[in-house]
Subunit: 300 residues, 2 copies
C-alpha cells in the first residue's frame, strides 16, 4: 500500500489541504484561514488544529507545503529559486523541518526572474502547478496561463520554467468593482455574458488601460450596459486586456478552477487564441507529488 | 464699476466658489462639501449657507456653476453638449434658473464625445477650463492635459473642443496605494523624486498596465525601492503610463494646480514631450467669465 501524506496550498487568504495516498487524493480540507488571519507564531498550532482528524487517524504524516506560507509573512521564509529552474532545482532549495508534533515537513520555495516585459517578477505556489501540468501533459514546450488574483503567464521548456509575467487582473477587478467610482451605487449584479463579451471586444481594441476602464462609466451613463451588468463588463475589460498582451495564434494551457478557465475561454473565443483547460487542483497535487518523490529521493 | 458675480466649481468631493468683479477674483471659498455630502433636496440651502457672507454684503449676486453639480447626482441635470463644441454652443445649452433667495443662476453643461481611442468619453467642469485657457492663450490649436482624479487629454481647434480622452490616473493611484496588496503594511510615506522617476522610466518601457504595477511589489521585495517610497514609485508608474499614451514630440498645455503640474513636468523630463503649465483656477475663472459674458449677451 502506498504511503499517505498531506499536500498543502497555504496562500494569503485561503488554506487548502489534500490527504494523499501516493499520487491519489483521498480527502480534502478548504478553510478561509490564509496568512492574513494567522499570527506569526501561530502557524504550527493552527496547522495541527486544521489537520487534527487526519493526524489522529494516520499518525504524524509527512506534510509538503507551497504558496505564500513560504514568504516573509509566512511560517518560515524560503528564498525564491531563480528562473530558469526545474523540479530538481526547486526540491534542492526546499526547506525541511520537523513540526512540534513530529511530522516531517517541507516548504517549497517560490521562483523569481524577469518577466517577458523586462520587469522583475515572482511566484509562490504556481511553480508547483506548472511542474504538475508538465508531469500530466508532457511536451517539449508549454505556454501556461494561471488566471487569478495575480494571473501568471509562464513558459516551460523541457520541464524547466523559463519565464513568468504577473498580471494583477483579479485584484484590479476587485478594486474597480468594490472601491472605485465605476462600481459606486450599483444594484445587485448578475452574470451577463453579453456585457462580458462587450468588455472583451472593447479591451482588445488596444486603448491604454487607465483610459479603457472609464468606458464602464460612460457606457453606463449612455445606457449601453445595464446597471446590473457593470461587474460583467468590468470582468470582460480586465480579462480581455490581459489576453490582449499574448502573441496572436498562441496555443496555451489554462490552469485554474473550471469556472475561471471557462470565463477565459469565453473571452478567447473573440480572439486568435487556442486554449486547453487543465484543472488547477489536479496540477497542484501532481506537482507536489512529483516534488515529494524527489525530496524522498534526496533524503535517501 | 464692473458687476460682481459668483463663479462656482462644484464637484464630487469639493466645493469652490470665487467672488468675482468682472474677470477679476476678489475672494474665494473652498470647502470639502462636494455632491457626495449633499442630499438631493439640500443643494439650495447648502449653497445659500456657503455664500451667506457675500450675499449679505452684495445682495443676490448672479451665480454661474460648472462641474458635477450639473450631473444626474447633482442639483439639476444638464444634458451633455456633444463634441465638437465651442463656448457659444455650451452657453446655448446652459440651464438658467432663479434660486429660492432670488439670485439668477446658470448651470453649465458638460460635454461628451468619442475619445482619441474610439471610446465614449465625458467631462464636466474641464470644458470651462479649456475655454479659459483658449481665452488666456489664443492659438489655432491647443493640446491640453488636465491632470487629476480623472485626467483629461483634450484638443481645441479654433476655439472648439474637438475631442477628449479620460485617464483614471489619480483614482487608480488612490486604489493601488490605499486598497491593494501593493500598498499593504507600509510605513509613513515620503516624497521621493528618485523613486518617482524610476516609476516613470519603468512605465515608459511599454509593459501592459496590470503587469507593470506588479513591479511595485517585486521591486519592494528586492529592496530596489524603499518601504517609505512605494507611493512615489506608484505615482511615477501611473503618471508615466498616462504620458506614454501621448504622441512623441507633442507640445501640450498642462492645466491644474502648480503642485500637480510640476509632478507631470518632472515625469515629462524623461520623455520627448514639451509641456507649458497653466494655473487651473485661472483657467476656470476665465472660462466661466467668458461663458458669463455670452450668457448675458444671450439674455439681452
Amino acid at each position: 500500500m502506498k504511503t499517505h501524506w498531506i499536500a498543502i496550498d497555504w496562500g494569503t487568504t485561503n488554506f487548502r489541504a489534500f490527504l494523499m495516498q501516493g499520487s491519489k487524493q483521498v480527502s480534502r480540507i478548504s478553510q478561509p484561514c490564509g496568512l492574513l488571519s494567522v499570527e506569526k507564531d501561530q502557524f504550527a498550532p493552527t496547522l495541527q488544529n486544521l489537520l487534527q482528524t487526519w493526524l489522529e487517524q494516520y499518525g504524524n504524516l509527512p506534510i509538503v507545503m507551497a504558496g505564500m506560507v513560504g514568504s516573509q509573512q509566512g511560517w518560515h521564509e524560503v528564498p525564491y529559486a531563480p528562473l530558469p529552474c526545474n523540479a530538481q532545482d526547486l526540491a534542492s532549495r526546499t526547506l525541511a523541518f520537523t513540526t512540534p508534533w513530529g511530522s516531517q515537513a517541507w516548504l517549497i520555495p517560490g521562483a523569481n526572474g524577469t518577466s517577458q516585459f523586462g520587469q522583475p517578477d515572482v511566484m509562490r505556489g504556481e511553480e508547483v502547478q506548472l511542474f504538475g501540468l508538465s508531469a500530466l501533459h508532457p511536451a517539449d514546450e508549454h505556454f501556461v496561463l494561471l488566471p487569478g488574483t495575480h494571473s501568471k503567464h509562464a513558459q516551460l521548456r523541457l520541464g524547466e520554467i523559463t519565464a513568468s509575467s504577473t498580471f494583477m487582473t483579479g485584484e484590479i477587478f476587485s478594486l474597480l468593482s468594490q472601491h472605485s467610482i465605476l462600481g459606486r451605487a450599483l444594484p445587485e449584479q448578475q452574470e451577463d455574458n453579453e456585457a462580458f463579451l462587450l468588455g472583451v471586444r472593447t479591451a482588445i481594441q488596444g486603448a491604454p488601460f487607465t483610459h479603457l476602464i472609464f468606458s464602464a462609466r460612460t457606457r453606463r451613463l449612455a445606457g449601453e450596459i445595464k446597471e446590473a451588468s457593470v461587474h460583467s463588463y468590468l470582468s470582460g475589460l480586465t480579462i480581455g486586456y490581459e489576453l490582449q498582451a499574448l502573441p496572436a495564434a498562441l496555443h496555451a494551457w489554462l490552469v485554474g478552477s473550471p469556472s475561471l478557465t471557462a470565463r477565459y475561454e469565453l473571452a478567447a473565443s473573440l480572439m486568435d487564441l487556442n486554449f486547453s483547460p487543465a484543472n488547477g487542483d489536479d496540477c497542484f497535487i501532481h506537482g507536489l507529488w512529483h516534488l515529494f518523490t524527489q525530496l524522498q529521493g534526496n533524503r535517501s
